[in-house]
Amino acid sequence: MNGVEGFMYPNEVGLQWSVLIVLYPFITGLVAGAFILASLERVFRVEAVKPTYRLALLTALSFLLVAPLPLQLHLGHPERSPEMYFTPHSTSAMAMFGYVYLWYLMAVLVLEIWLDYRRDIVMLYQSSKGLLRLVYGIMTLGSTNISERALAIDDKVGWIVTLIGIPSAFMLHGYVGFIFGSIKANPWWSSPLMPVVFIFSAMVSGIAGVMLLYMAATRLRGQKIDVHCVDTIAMYLFYIFIIDFSLEMLDLIHRIYEADESFRSLNFLVHTQLYIPHIVIQICLGTLTPIILLGITQVVKLNEIVRKRMYVVAGCLTLVGIFAMRWNVVIGGQLFSKSFLGYTTYKMTLVTREGLLVAVFLTLLPLVFLWVFVKLLPPWPEKAAEAAAAGD
């Protein structure tokens, strides 16, 4: 049969989960990682990353709003998806999605952003006119008290929300890892390490994503990049990346050493169809290269411009590597037969519901949301200072 090598069970020839399901963990990973970066400042008081705090929150929100779209587009009957809320199946990991998503969106992210921005929203509401005034008016939710006491309460509650948000972010993405890791039928997925690897790779991608967005946005605004801030972010990125890579290697070494019944099949796959996406792109280009680049910046004294350029290259490669990791998990896990006797191929379509164009659109859509949010709620430190000054 076309595209099949060896023997596949006849129903296995076509892949069930497409590039859209690759996008889903990639996007939720960015959300979780961006939130963790924001919590560095809020909970762990890493003041150096403060310039990215609000941007990280808005980034997380932008990507979180898009996260369910690839899933919806993938469903055979998207109109039935509310059933997951109304009649969730208690034994299904996937049934948790709606609740985890809503919890994270409404109870964590939106609440934290609202609490953090409430003063700005009220100020903007009072100073704007027309439609914008209406928008800001709705965003105040009728709460226009910005007295010192009220703001102190906001701050306290915001801190608690962030504290709850950290395990929630882990849950959001660890849960995605569990969806794959709990499938005993698929040895490529079935691993208790999967949720942990997903959490750390999420942190890596989110931190790299926000770092790049901060650098690009600051540049576009004609402002000076806070080097101390990006140095600190790069340091965290480097250390978390090392943990992530160690976990992935632990998983790999364990598989190689254990060499169970699936090993011959998976080994063949990694050396053939997955060689480029797994070995070359994910491990060499998307993991080792950024780790080496970031490592150099940690041990060698380089000038500011070189460091910033290295961060940009390392950040971009990191995102490519994490996307490749999601690709290799989702697509790679469907390329071999559960009989371990054959392999199929994935042919991405271009304009269909689950095609490349839709995937590109969904990847860019969060950036459009982010642009709107940044316009509505400027996350830049000097804007916050201006608003504070105006308030005083």
């Binding site: 023997f7 069970y9 006849p10 129903n11 069930q16 989960w17 299904s92 049934a95 039928a185």
Partner: protein, 243 residues
């Protein structure tokens, strides 16, 4: 055509039996089926399968299975002495059109019919986010196609490759053990058409079912026992190389 009294005495009871079967095949005339009285499974005797593909064709016709997808299929194994763990397996069009002539060698060839194992602890029902697929009280794993989201998580979770997403209905589809037939007292389409009796519908709750004696006296195996799915497709004469 004229019948004498002797012929009539023979024909009338036969006609009565035939008429009973016709009636049994009418859903509205089956008030006596109680799910709790049954625990269905399938006995597949690998030593009897000749790879004719009758079962695959009958299943496709009976259940309107779309081309390229299979509720049941037949695999042909070719096992060499050198590497028993790497058999050569083929299943062209699911064995629907039979198999090409095997090369003449002294190695082992045999056919293995496959289908949903009607697992008691089925991973596919475990993962369904809305419970659209479930194990019925009579042990048959079914899909409520008016409820299924078409997320394909169950397809991923089935270790045996027995599920697919129906290309027209966009929902999960699989062997129902011909539920519309067995609840009418009939057997499945695949069992009905198997010329060698390699497939037999079994009711583990029926003390008179010959399966009990068979399981007692034969070396019977399930596929991938390490998956611990409580599979109820019992294979007689299953070679260790079968996946």
């Amino acid at each position: 055509m004229k019948f004498n009294r002797r012929q009539m005495l023979i024909l009338l009871p036969a006609a009565a039996v035939a008429w009973k079967s016709v009636l049994a095949g009418t859903p509205e005339d089956s008030p006596n089926y109680r799910m709790s009285d049954h625990w269905w499974g399938m006995l597949i005797d690998v030593t009897k399968c000749i790879g004719c593909g009758n079962c695959v064709r009958a299943c496709a016709t009976e259940n309107d299975v779309p081309d390229g997808h299979f509720r049941t299929w037949v695999e042909r194994y070719h096992v060499t002495d050198e590497d028993m763990t790497e058999p050569q397996v083929i299943s062209p069009n699911g064995g629907k059109d039979g198999f090409p002539m095997a090369q003449e060698d002294d190695k082992k060839y045999f056919f293995v019919p496959k289908m949903c194992n009607q697992c008691a602890d089925s991973p596919c029902t475990q993962v369904c986010p809305v419970g659209a697929t479930f194990v019925a009280p009579d042990g048959v794993v079914l899909v409520d196609q008016k409820y299924c989201l078409g997320c394909a998580y169950c397809v991923q979770a089935c270790p045996y490759g027995c599920r697919y997403i129906h290309p027209q209905k966009d929902v999960a589809d699989k062997c129902t053990l011909c539920y519309h037939r067995i609840t009418q007292g009939l057997t499945t389409a695949c069992c009905e058409t198997c010329p060698t009796g390699a497939r037999q519908l079994v009711d583990l709750k029926n003390p008179k079912d010959p399966i009990h004696e068979f399981l007692k006296t034969h070396n019977v195996q399930v596929l991938k026992p390490q998956m611990a799915t409580g599979a109820k497709a019992f294979y007689n004469g299953l070679d260790g190389s079968v996946r």
